[in-house]
């Protein structure tokens, strides 16, 4: 299934922030998690993740740190901040509202909120 580019763009920030609430992570691992969560349905050019992460850092939603991983690879780790959690909470509210509206108009079987884990 092809998911529209604009929808992916809108989804990217809450998705990445949500993944980071599971614990600090680095770019490649975040992308792997995105694939896992969407069963590979979310098409995402890998490189595009980094400008997004840098934007989150600039906004103060995440902090970064260069560390050497156990396998000896230098990686930039991203950790969510309190600001980031607050922003995520706000985004969650918006998504739930959107999903509910769509669910209502599509016959009330509430598929979307269900998909969002708020069914």
């Amino acid at each position: 299934m092809h998911i529209d580019k604009d929808l992916v763009a809108a989804l990217a920030t809450p998705l990445v922030l949500s993944i980071l609430t599971e614990g600090e992570s680095y770019g490649y691992a975040i992308l792997k998690r995105v694939r896992e969560l969407s069963d590979g349905e979310l098409e995402w050019t890998d490189g595009m993740l980094y400008p997004l992460l840098h934007r989150l850092r600039r906004l103060g939603y995440v902090t970064t740190e260069w560390r050497t991983s156990p396998e000896g690879r230098r990686r930039r780790y991203y950790t969510i901040t309190n600001d980031g959690r607050a922003a995520l909470a706000e985004q969650q509210r918006q998504w739930v509202t959107v999903a509910r509206a769509l669910g209502d108009v599509w016959g009330g079987d509430d598929l979307l909120p269900f998909a969002l884990g708020r069914g």
Binding site: Y26, G27, Y28, M48, G60
Partner: protein, 446 residues
């Protein structure tokens, strides 16, 4: 495997070539590429196949550098990167808002000037209150722009009210030096009050604090530019009106105070909305002035060390050195805010360290002699304020020097240095507030 390494190196060089992807970003992307290749190889692909797939997944380089440009606009003039119709959204065209606040500030200052009879009367009331007449409008402008909640607005307004009450209820004596000190320190206090709405109420965020430092530097540049333009305008006006028999002094007396007050808000608006213009000026200015100051400071330190301080010592000297340290700190902060934090140590960092260390050496010499003098003659308000500021700056610059050394020797990150400065900022605010609120009663308003 060697083939793969050279292919990766080639890819990385190609990625890093663009102006928007810097070394650290390229390193991050390379780490990603290697992870991806390792996974694909583990899944059974040959190394060269894995490389091709990983590169393909990474995305086209044009697209990639465009995305990076969008985020790291400071790294380059946007229009050079974003060839093509994809305009960056400029968040601001709400100049009317700025204009309203600018006019309000201009009118307020004008009314106060007329009430105080300036300039025919030398009114110390006006002098003491002038920052209180202008900066609240700047705070209000940001409160509106950032859409602060009413609770946040109250929090921002409280220090303004307290300041207004305190400085106007204190019974300063005639020609009191505490009054002059208040006039000099109150703008600093209020500037930090403006920081609250500027940072959208999130005062703990280090990134926001750095943003505010950047804003301060850029605001200063714009203000100086406006002042220069205004000076030319006034000069020409005087030249044209004089022959017509109109007293240009009167015109200037009306225009300059209002213009200076309005320009405070206009400069802030310019920083907000035309940021990309000055963004590119900041690194250039620091690059020009940091080495010049380093040279000046080394020479001064040598001269002082060789000739001794001797007769050069008068009571203004501490003030001059405070100013010097403030300028050095300003350069450090400004250079820091204009610097890309992800880059490693460079020659500019070394020059900056030289400047800081020379300033420290100079200051220590002066401070030693000055302390002896104060020991002989006792404290006055001026000496206390100057000494306090000097000590604050000394601690700050010592910390900066220490962390710079660690950073240059690779034992610490630039982030630590940045953190030190942003953590230190409230100390300056507290000191300025102390001078405004506590010092006058301490010295019986003399």
């Amino acid at each position: 495997m060697e083939r793969l390494e050279s292919e990766i190196a080639e890819w990385r060089a190609f990625v890093g070539q663009g102006p928007t992807v810097n070394g650290r970003d390229a390193e991050e992307l390379e780490a990603h590429l290697r992870d991806q290749i390792a996974d694909l190889v583990a899944a059974g692909l040959a190394a060269d196949e894995a490389f091709l797939v990983a590169v393909k997944r990474m995305g086209g380089l044009d697209e990639l550098s465009r995305e990076f440009a969008r985020e790291h606009s400071g790294r380059l003039w946007k229009q050079l990167v974003l060839s093509g119709g994809d305009e960056l959204p400029r968040p601001d065209s709400r100049w009317v808002e700025a204009l309203v606040f600018a006019i309000a500030a201009a009118v307020t200052v004008q009314v106060a000037r007329l009430a105080a009879g300036f300039p025919s009367d030398e009114s110390s009331w006006l002098f003491r209150n002038v920052s209180l007449l202008v900066l609240p409008f700047l705070a209000g402008y940001f409160a509106r722009r950032r859409r602060l909640t009413s609770r946040q607005c109250l929090l921002a307004a409280a220090p303004l009210v307290i300041a207004a009450v305190v400085i106007n209820l204190y019974p300063y004596g005639d020609e009191a030096s505490t009054e002059l000190l208040v006039a000099a320190h109150l703008p600093v206090v209020l500037w930090f009050v403006v920081a609250y709405p500027y940072m959208n109420g999130v005062v703990r965020s280090y990134e926001r604090r750095m943003d505010f430092v950047r804003f301060t530097g850029e605001w200063f540049i714009y203000y100086v530019l406006i002042a220069l333009g205004g000076g030319v305008l006034m000069g020409l006006t005087a030249g044209i009106l004089e022959p017509a028999g109109i007293d240009a002094e009167r015109v200037i007396e009306w225009v300059v105070p209002s213009g200076a007050a309005g320009a405070v808000i206009v400069a802030a608006w310019l920083v907000e909305s035309k940021q990309h213009v000055v963004e590119n000026m900041a690194p250039v200015l620091t690059m020009v002035f940091t080495p010049l100051f380093a040279v000046m400071l080394i020479i001064a330190a040598l001269v002082y060390a060789l000739t001794g301080l001797g007769g050069a010592f008068d009571r203004d000297l501490l003030g001059v050195f405070d100013l010097l340290m403030v300028v050095v700190l300003g350069l450090v902060l400004y250079g820091m805010s204009a610097r890309d934090p992800s880059q490693g140590p460079g020659w500019m960092d070394r020059i900056q360290l030289i400047a800081v260390v020379s300033a420290l050496v100079l200051d220590l010499m002066v401070l030693g002699a000055m302390l002896a003098r104060i020991g002989d003659l006792g404290f006055t308000p001026n000496r206390t304020a100057a000494l306090g500021l000097n000590l604050l700056l000394l601690v700050n610059l010592s910390g900066t020097a220490w962390l710079s050394v660690r950073f240059l020797s690779g034992r610490s990150t630039f982030h630590r240095l940045e953190r030190w400065q942003t953590t230190y900022l409230p100390v300056f605010a507290l000191w300025a507030a102390t001078v405004v609120v506590i010092l006058p009663p301490l010295f019986a308003f003399t």
